[in-house]
């Protein structure tokens, strides 16, 4: 333990925690981060091994409830969608797919434009300089000029990754249909970059990238932050944020690997534990002064959970596409039907991302659309599916609903005896209609591309990759948890920088936007350092 208390204590070493740690360490802050998981080595990842598809279904599963590693906490699921994450240095970026689209300008104005949910207190153009900075720090490969976004003045640091035979087929189909498509923005190296190797198209991104080509923050941020003096303590499970009589955060109580309780003092506390871990901690930190949980005077902590209901539309093609290869963070995207058209019977829209289809075990036991076939026809099934498919993944915008929420379990705990989070979630009618519409259009896309068969998973259970909204930002302390700079309205030295801060979910993968917002918050912490209230 350092003798001097940290200037800033960060909880969680995932995407947002790493961004803040690096920025603050570079600015000379004494930074300490507590992370319940551990470091992983590139050699840990199963992608290069024969047992890859077996490990992907257990030790490297995307659901903590399936992995059940000691560092995972159980999640009680009252939900048709399972929340997914990884707990370790790098957080969920260790197993994220690497797709790196930004939220769009309209996403920040859904109340003004569509009369639903709420506008954000910030907008796309305000975030743009941060997008450019995080694109460089993570390392993004992209084709510049996507007309689905406002023109950029600054472009991605690397050229785009290949779109593969499947991507080319669909791109041609969309050209005939007159529909938008674009090579995906990916936080994956297409060339050597920042001391990391380029992608080799192995497609095992969701169980860790053996090449280090994918931007996980254990590679992109933490080594630099540590070199600048940040202290990252692993195996440190935070059980509560402590406060003093003045209502200021004083640090965190945490449990070490041996089960001993410790306290880490700090002037400022930053929560970056993701949109399930963060509300869980705030609720666990209830006290006499904050009986409903820390920073919860609005009653919104844990509420408005959004997870992007997800459907998968798989097209099967006669010709071999070798579609077990290629970056999993999407080959191409389509934003043709992203914006509201009320004639469709719902508001807002969805992004489509075209993904590879996996190896033979996944073909025989499909985790997405499709069925198991046994008997002699099993071989025909594998022959027609393996390497012959393309998956349109449809990420539907999830509008906030206060009944979709994270609470604390009264019966289930993690391995440290800390109450587990319960997730109560159901899909709204607007999202159901949206998915149905998009499934129809994506089916047309596949058929136009020449698919002889289309298989659909209308709501995929293991698709809760995007955890958002459980401590929203806003101007009004009565209707939001955070101010527009990610500082809690109630506790002036407590910040929340993960996806909890989202006001609405957008319909795109969120990490690019989470990282940009976290960097903006870190800049604010630097700029307001002399006015920051801290405990005596």
């Amino acid at each position: 333990m350092a003798s001097e208390p940290a200037d800033v204590l960060i909880v969680g070493a995932g995407a947002s925690g790493a961004v803040v740690a690096l920025r603050l360490a570079e600015a000379g802050f004494r930074v300490v981060c507590l992370e319940q998981g551990d470091w992983h080595d590139l050699a840990d990842y199963p992608g290069v091994r024969l047992d890859w598809e077996l490990q992907q279904r257990k030790t490297w599963a995307t659901s903590p409830n399936i992995r059940q590693l000691p560092e995972d906490y159980p999640i009680v699921e009252d939900s048709p969608v399972s929340p997914l994450m990884f707990n370790g240095v790098g957080g969920s970026t260790l197993i994220f797919a690497g797709a790196w689209p930004r939220a769009l300008p309209s996403d920040f104005r859904v109340r003004s434009l569509d009369g639903v949910a709420d506008d954000w207190p910030i907008d796309y153009f305000e975030l743009l300089p941060y997008f450019y900075r995080t694109d460089r720090a993570f390392g993004v490969s992209a084709l510049p000029g996507d007309p689905a976004y406002p023109p950029d003045t600054d472009e991605a640091p690397m050229p785009p990754l290949p779109i593969g035979s499947a991507g080319l087929k669909i791109a041609r189909a969309h050209t005939r249909l007159g529909w938008h498509w674009w090579p995906e923005f990916n936080a994956i190296n297409s060339t050597p970059y920042d001391g990391r190797r380029p992608c080799v198209q192995r497609s095992t991104c969701q169980s860790g990238c053996n090449e280090g080509a994918k931007a996980s923050t254990d590679l992109t941020h933490w080594p630099k932050a540590i070199a600048k003096g940040a202290r990252l303590i692993t195996g440190a499970r935070v059980r509560r944020i402590e406060t003093n009589d003045a209502g200021l955060a004083t640090g965190a109580t945490w449990i070490d690997r041996e089960g001993a309780e410790r306290f880490e003092p700090a002037s400022v506390v930053v929560l970056a534990a993701n949109a399930i871990g963060t509300p869980r901690l705030l609720l666990l930190s209830a006290s006499g002064r904050y009986p409903d949980g820390l920073a919860n005077s609005s009653g919104l902590v844990g509420r408005r959970l959004m997870m992007h209901p997800f459907a998968n539309v798989a097209g099967l093609f006669e010709e071999p596409l070798m579609s077990w290869q290629g970056q999993f963070g999407d080959l191409i995207e389509s934003l043709e039907f992203y914006e509201t058209d009320e004639k469709r019977g719902f508001v807002r829209g969805a992004r489509w991302g075209l993904a590879p289809t996996g190896g033979p075990i996944n073909t025989a036991l499909p985790s997405r659309a499709g069925e198991q076939v046994w008997g002699p026809d099993h071989h025909l099934h594998v022959r027609t599916h393996l390497g012959h498919g393309a998956n349109w993944g449809i990420f539907a915008e999830d509008l906030p609903d206060e009944t979709n929420r994270v609470t604390l379990s009264t019966t289930v705990t993690d391995s440290s005896g800390i109450p587990a989070p319960e997730v109560h979630y159901s899909m709204a009618e607007n999202a159901r209609r949206m998915l149905d519409f998009h499934i129809e259009r994506a089916t047309e896309s596949m058929l136009e591309a020449g698919a002889f068969k289309v298989e659909v998973d209308r709501l995929m259970r293991y698709s809760g990759w995007h955890l958002l909204g459980t401590a929203r930002m806003g101007d009004d302390p009565e209707t939001s948890v955070l101010d527009p700079w990610n500082r809690t309205h109630d506790v002036p030295n407590l910040y929340i920088v993960d996806g909890s801060c989202f006001v609405t979910s957008s319909g795109v993968n969120p990490t690019s936007t989470i990282a940009a917002i976290a960097l903006r918050a870190a800049d604010h912490i630097v700029e307001s350092r002399f006015n920051q209230q801290v405990p005596a």
Binding site: S106, G145, A148, W324, A364
Partner: protein, 191 residues
Amino acid sequence: MTASSASSPMSTTGGSEPLATLDAGSRAHLAAIAGRLIPEAHGMPSAAEVLTDDRVRFVLQARPDLVEPLRGALRVELGDDVQARLDALGRGDPAILGALHLVIVAGYYTDRRVRELIGYPGQLAIEVKSGAPSYLDEGLIDAVLARGPVWRDPVTGRRAEVAGAPRTYKERVWSTTAGSTQGGNDGGDST
């Protein structure tokens, strides 16, 4: 509590000899089920033939958590009729049936000969080629650009109008060396 150690589940080696947990009767049931689910047909061997001790051992060493459910799936009480056994598991024990399927499928598709026959070489490392992608030459990007901006302008609420937006890719300067190979600097601007 939190740390993964040298003996953590991250390692792929399970028990020393997981096959020792399966008696001859269980092995016979496994072979019969494997042959029923994946029989010899269409030029492919039967899983009963492919699931040698080596293959089953490989699966169970990689996934020691499958040993117990597999034993449950092969238990004597479920009788000798393969279909009746599968039906009973499907009704009463879907998780155990799932584990049984996984052992058979994983044993089968990690076999070298089977992989050759299905034309699956494993997940390959394929170098990403540099140079302008073919879809640019084919005009596929031009077709997207020709339709103009797609994003909705939050000020007007309508599709954006951007004066001077490029309508072909040639109007932009394409550079395969866009940016720099160093992170965290100002990157590059190829326009």
